[in-house]
């Protein structure tokens, strides 16, 4: 009995070391970023527009732009993604349509984001005349997030116990009542978790927005989705290509701001998920 137990302890120790390494790596990134960003930290940094002088450069337009993009992405991708998943799982399971659409969606998840940028440029910016606007950016990022939202929502819906559906159908519920009253509430925590991962990724995307023509220099914060496209990732990219050493600090500052935005979003999602689970118990 001693042998296997010791072996298990060995594996446990190894896992602990690896986990500690991950935490250390994460802390290192945070400390390096924060250290670099330190010199840029002043209240004006959050609100000021970008500038040719690093000392005066702020992330006002980029921060507002990223919040707009995040909101637009969620508002567009979540309903469409959940709707697609519900259709595939509840209305057309194991049909030819489901197989084709499902396969297509799964493959779309593997397409590089810069390719979505090219498609977004042709479709949204030029084809639908949105130009290099936040709306075009939001639409492009929504399309980028969509496959992941669909795939994770399908998995969450599939994990809902069949007995729950049958109990509702057996009591004379319509398909929509079953979906709305049983399937979606039970699947919601999984949908939120998976979708959050998708939105965290798209909010950090610079490549597709650069293809669309994101502004590297804006003097005002965007107020509507029709305003020019600005975002934190593209701002970081723009600053990091400048030769002056001082811009490294503001780029790091913008990076920290991006992490904070994503942290807030994930905390909000956790709260929503907790409420839903608490409410249904």
């Amino acid at each position: 009995m001693r042998g296997p137990k010791h072996a298990r302890d060995g594996i446990g120790t190894a896992c602990g070391v690896v986990a500690a390494g991950v935490v250390a790596a994460f802390l290192t990134v945070a400390v390096v970023l924060a250290g670099q960003a330190w010199s840029a930290a002043d209240p004006g940094f959050l609100f000021d527009p970008s500038s040719r002088v690093a000392d005066r450069a702020g992330i006002g337009p980029a921060l507002t732009g990223t919040i707009w993009l995040l909101a637009l992405t969620v508002a567009l991708a979540l309903p469409v993604g959940i709707g697609t998943a519900v259709y595939l799982e509840e209305y057309a399971p194991r049909t030819g349509v489901a197989a084709v659409v499902g396969g297509l969606v799964a493959n779309l998840a593997g397409v590089p984001s810069v390719v979505y940028g090219v498609a977004g440029l042709a479709l949204f910016a030029r084809g639908l005349g949105m130009g290099a606007s936040l709306l075009a950016g939001g639409c492009t990022l929504a399309v980028l997030a969509l496959p992941t939202v669909v795939v994770t929502s399908r998995a969450a819906i599939r994990a809902v116990p069949r007995g729950l559906r049958e109990a509702a159908y057996g009591l004379g519920a319509t398909r929509w009542q079953v979906v709305r009253g049983q399937v979606l509430p039970a699947a919601a925590p999984g949908i939120v978790t998976g979708s959050c991962a998708a939105f965290t990724r798209t909010a950090g995307e610079a490549a597709p927005l650069l293809v669309l023509g994101a502004a590297a220099f804006m003097t005002f914060a965007p107020r509507t989705p029709a305003d020019p496209l600005a975002s934190l990732p593209t701002q970081v990219f723009a600053w990091s290509t400048r030769s002056q050493q001082d811009f490294a600090a503001v780029a790091a500052g913008a990076g920290v701001a991006l992490l904070l935005v994503l942290l807030v979003m994930n905390l909000a999602a956790r709260t929503i998920r907790g409420r839903m689970q608490g409410g249904s118990a």
């Binding site: 399971p93 194991r94 049909t95 116990p161 007995g163 729950l164 559906r165 049958e166 109990a167 509702a168 159908y169 057996g170 009591l171 004379g172 519920a173 319509t174 009542q177 009253g181 049983q182 039970a186 249904s280 118990a281």
Partner: protein, 250 residues
Amino acid sequence: MIPVLAAEDLTVRFGRRTALAGVTLEVPRGRIVSVIGPSGGGKTTLLRAFNRMNELKPGVTTTGTVRFNGVDLHGDEVDAVEVRRRIGMVFQQATLFPRSILDNVVFGPRAGGHTGDKLLELAEEVLVAVGLWSEVGEDIDRPAMQLSAGQRQRLCIARTLALRPEVLLLDEPTSALDPAATARIESLVHSLKRDHTIVLATHGRRQAARLSDFTAYLAGGELIEYGPTESLFTNPRDRRTESYLTGRIE
């Protein structure tokens, strides 16, 4: 008199697997018909054919007819949702909705568009009928998940009764219960016979003998024998039935 339920040459296939093969049988009004037979013999499929639950599974094909009070259940003008409200079903696994006892009881009427105080009266009535009203101390806002296994299954029966169905389909309602809880359900089923026609799928031969007026023996998707419970048990006509009843086939 028209039988409440009548299956004629009923065949149900899931993909290439035949679950029911040409079953013909009639369920007389106000009686308890039990369906016995080995696992995978088609008991559940037959019950589900009576309220059109089979079609919820992908890849199912049904041929032959099922009539409810003489009306073809698969007719063009028949709505499957309406069928399930009039022919209620209780499943083997007592799956409750993760809400209150009250929400579970009135789920069906609410889905049918009923609201208001009448729902509370209805809830009390059916909870009394299944003997849960006094047990839960009239506290029907409690989470349903707090109930014991036997209570859960009785809540499932109450939930189905709240639809005021003509027919009750009970799919092995006691298979997951201990003897005491089983006895409670059995006496409940017996009392429900007054107002309902009941089809009871059961693994327990003795349960079928105790409760039912007629018994059908299903094996391999075929109806081997169907007749009054007493004569089927004491004097089976088919040797396969006899083997099953004497325990030589499980």
